[in-house]
Structures are given as C-alpha cells and as structure tokens.
Symmetry: C2
Subunit: 270 residues, 2 copies
DNA sequence: GTCTGTGAAGGGCTTCACAGCT
DNA sequence: AGCTGTGAAGCCCTTCACAGAC
C-alpha cells in the first residue's frame, strides 16, 4: 500500500516537479523581435513544458541531456522536440546533446521569461485564494502583485503576502504595479466587466477561469481554463479508448506520450 | 467607473454562464459505438463548448438557433461549427437552423454525458477545496462523490457535502462509489502514487493539476492543467501580438474568435 | 430566399529519414 | 559512432464555396 510505481515503462528521468529560481547562466538570450514570428502555436505550448523539465534537471545538477531523454521526460517524441527547438536556432552539440543551463536560458529568453511578469488577480473566492497561494506561480517567472474583489467582507483581508483591495482601484493599481497579466476568477456575471477594466488599464494578457467567452480588442490575448470542458473531453476520450480496444495508438490530449521506440525501458541509463 | 462594455462588437448573444440541469427532451441519443471513432480531437473539445452555450440558450427559452449565432456565441466561425456538428450526422433544418433542446441532447449523447459521471478528488489543499466547492462542476454532468487526502489534520473535515477520507481507502472507495473519473490536486511528489492507485481502482480518466508527467497504462486517458504553462503561453502570445502590430489576425489559443463577418454588430437581432 | 451539410482546396503540424557536425 | 538539425512526405484540421433541403 505504500510502495510507489513499479510497472512503469517509458517515462524516463522521473521528473517530479520542484524548481528553484536560480538557474540562468551567462547566455542572456533576448527575444530578438524576429524570433517571435514563425514559431508555431503548438510549439510555443510545448516549449513551456520543456522549460519546466529543464528546470528540474538543472536542480539535479544534470549538465547535459539528449533529445531522446528530454523528450521522454516531457512526454513527446524526440523528433518533435528537435523540430520544436530548431525554431530557436541551433541549441545543442551534435553527437553530444544539449547543455541544460544553456537551453533553459535560451527557451526562457524566447518565451520572454527573462523578465518577471507582474500579475494581478481579480476575484478572491475559493478558487482565487487557492491561486493566490499557489507556489509554482512565483517559481516560474510570475510575481503576484495585486488581489482585488468587490465583496466588502473580503477587502482588507490578507491572502499570502498581499491584502485584498477593492476592484474599483483596479485600473489605477495596475498602472502603479506595472502589471502585465491579469487573472480572472470571479463569478461568471462579473467576468466581462473585469476584463473591460483590465483592458482599460492597459493589460494585454488575460487568463480566465470562467467558461464565459471574453469580448476584448484584437490586440489583447486571452486564454480560458474551463474545468468542465476538460473533464468532458477527458471522459469522452476515455470512452473512446475502451471502445477502440486498449491496444496501441496512445492517448491524445495536450500531451501525446507516444514514445518513438515503444516500451523500450529506461532511456536515462544507456 | 461603473458602466460595463460598450465598445464590444462581435460576441453576439452575450452568453454569460449559468445552466441548470433540466433541459434534455425526448431524444435519448446514446453514443452509438461507431460515432466515437472518426470525431476529430479538436472537434470534441469544441463540442463541449457548444454544449455549454446551448445550455445557456435553453435556459433563456430560446428554441432555435442558427449556425451563425451559435458560432458567434461560442467564439468560432460558422463554417467550423457546421463541420463539427456534421460529424454527429444531420442535426438541423435547412433554411431554419438548429432546435436548441434537440442539439443539446444530441451533443450530450455523443460526448457520453447522458449519464452522470462520478468523480473522486484526491488532495484537499487550497486548490482541492476550491475545486470541491466549484458549483459548475455538478452543473455540467459530474457528481463529486469522494474526497481524499493523506494529511491527518484534514481527514474527517467536511468540505461541501462530503467528508474527507484517508487516501488509503481510495481503491476500496472508488469501487464502492462507482467512480469513473479522478481529479488529482496533491503536491507534485504524491501525484504519481495517487495516479497508480486510481488506475488500480479501475479508473480510466484522470485529470491532474500538477505539471508532473503522469505515467499510466495506454488505456488510461489523462489530461493536465498546468497554470504556469497557460500563463507562459499567454504572455508569449501577448508579446507577439504587440510585435506584429495590433492589426487583424485575431488571437490564437483555445478560442479563435475570428468571426466570419468581422465587426458586423449584433447577430442575435436579424 | 435562407440556412444546413459537405466535397475540395488550403494551411499547419507531425513524422520520417537522413545529411552533417563532433 | 552518436546525436543534432532539417528538408520532404504525410496527416489532420480549417476554410472555402456551393449543392441541396426547406
């Protein structure tokens, strides 16, 4: 009852989280204006994953990693990983692999994570409080700098290091705090108004946890996390798996763990 | 400071959430074994969105909707919507549109949501508690039936309607509760062990909020929600928007609000 | 005339397989 | 010999445009 996994095959390197913010070495790769274009959307999403895995490897003082290993630890195929990285230009050494610290810095630079992003969070209910206390938040390049709500009972309450302020101060505070990213975890009815305020305050990036469709100007980037959609897609795919018979073809969603060489055991120990 | 949006164009129908679980009419469309195949992954994800919007429309006693309207309210193009629906067979009436209740039932059936799914949640920390109290959870076909944790201080505590049980009871309880979907919101270190237990208990669908890569058998479907990845992708796309100049080309992520007829005002009022 | 359903064209992403560097 | 970087092939998805039903 207490033993952990033992029947597990492909997931090499056993990356289990936990990064500390001390890794970037010398290479100060600034996102050089032209790299931003031409990186496929799907690749951008995976780069963020590689970045996290590289952080874990750096913490373990792993200095070098091959595409095969990094791919396995990230849940993708090695060819896909190399293709993804190729959009950033040459990153590794042929016959050897990638230098962990260098590649980490390279990706962070490309994603614009060499500078810290200030985040404001609006809606300090159950979910908002949980988000405000989420440690991985700060650990991956984001600094929570403001909490806002409209409920008088919540104003002035401390959550983590911050004190909840009234949402009427939002526009003003965003400017003072130099916020660049807004997170909305209010009830559905308030979402659009909050989004409008964030836009008015000059924010260009909004993450919403409401299923409501946000209506914002073209130059504002939004992203939604809808829990119910995730679960519905999940259960459908689960049903399909059983239907199709539990043979090959791997899964499907965000990560496609179709390892290139199926079930060949450890990839870390050659 | 108190007025809401006024410069907003395309998002017609202004769907703002809130569904109640009283809609399905006569058509008991069972997922008929062959429909499961051949539905593109991207389509499945959007079907879940359409389903939610249709729920909202049903609540408003809207009986009929055109592809143009439903598409606008869902943040997609009308052609894409029609193509998506076509995978379920004929659903509408030419020259008229779709009957809301009928289409809702049709999609729900196709996604396997005509039966309720029992969900167990493991890890009742900040995030876990927020999830446990999330109302939209139950409102969209999922019933939370069990809460588990390993921290002695949390065992026996009530969250919502449920009492937190020890994670050692997990396998046994999953069988008794007839759970079909597991949600993991534990610290990263515990995620793999919890996943192993869920698999052992026969669950085929796992939703994880940890960035850790899950290693599970092929017939188990997993899905991850990684907050940091969402924010990193968001901020990158935001930077790219500014770089490219705030012209056309709309956004990019989950929803692509590229309305077919750009900025033509209300679609709901003909 | 209106609006759905769909073949066909087009674009983007993935996979393959190998050239090229160490 | 080993491993990266990359053209090319293939696949999936999106978009177009129109035939067909009402």
């Amino acid at each position: 009852m207490t033993e952990t996994h033992q029947t597990h095959g492909p997931a090499a390197l056993d990356v289990t989280g936990v990064v500390d913010p001390s890794s970037a070495p010398s290479a100060t790769d600034q996102a050089s204006l032209s790299e931003l274009r031409d990186i496929p959307q799907a690749t951008v999403t995976r780069l963020a994953t590689y970045l996290r895995v590289l952080g874990v490897l750096a913490d373990r003082d792993t200095t070098t990693v091959s595409s095969e290993e990094l791919a396995a630890a990230s849940g993708v195929g090695s060819a896909k990983l190399r293709k993804d990285l190729s959009f950033l230009g040459p990153n590794g050494v042929r016959g050897v692999g990638y230098e962990v610290a260098r590649l980490h810095a390279r990706i962070a630079g490309a994603l614009g994570l060499d500078r810290v992003h200030n985040v404001v969070l609006v809606g300090v209910g159950n979910l908002g409080q949980a988000l405000a206390r989420y440690p991985g938040f700060a650990r991956r390049g984001f600094s929570l700098v403001g909490l806002f709500d409209s409920d008088p009972e919540r104003i002035g309450v401390s959550v983590g290091d911050l004190v909840v302020r009234h949402v009427d101060e939002l526009e003003q505070a965003c400017l003072e705090l130099e916020a660049t990213l807004g997170v909305i975890s209010t009830p559905d009815e308030a979402v659009q108004e909050v989004a409008d305020r964030l836009v008015r305050a000059g924010l260009r990036c909004i993450l919403s946890f409401s299923p409501t469709l946000l209506d914002v100007p073209d130059n504002v980037e939004t992203r939604q996390v809808d829990l119910a959609v995730e679960m519905q897609v999940l259960s459908f795919n689960g049903a399909r798996n059983i239907e199709n018979g539990p043979s090959s073809s791997a899964s499907s969603s965000s990560n496609s763990p179709s390892s290139t060489s199926p079930r060949n055991g450890s990839v870390i120990a050659p």
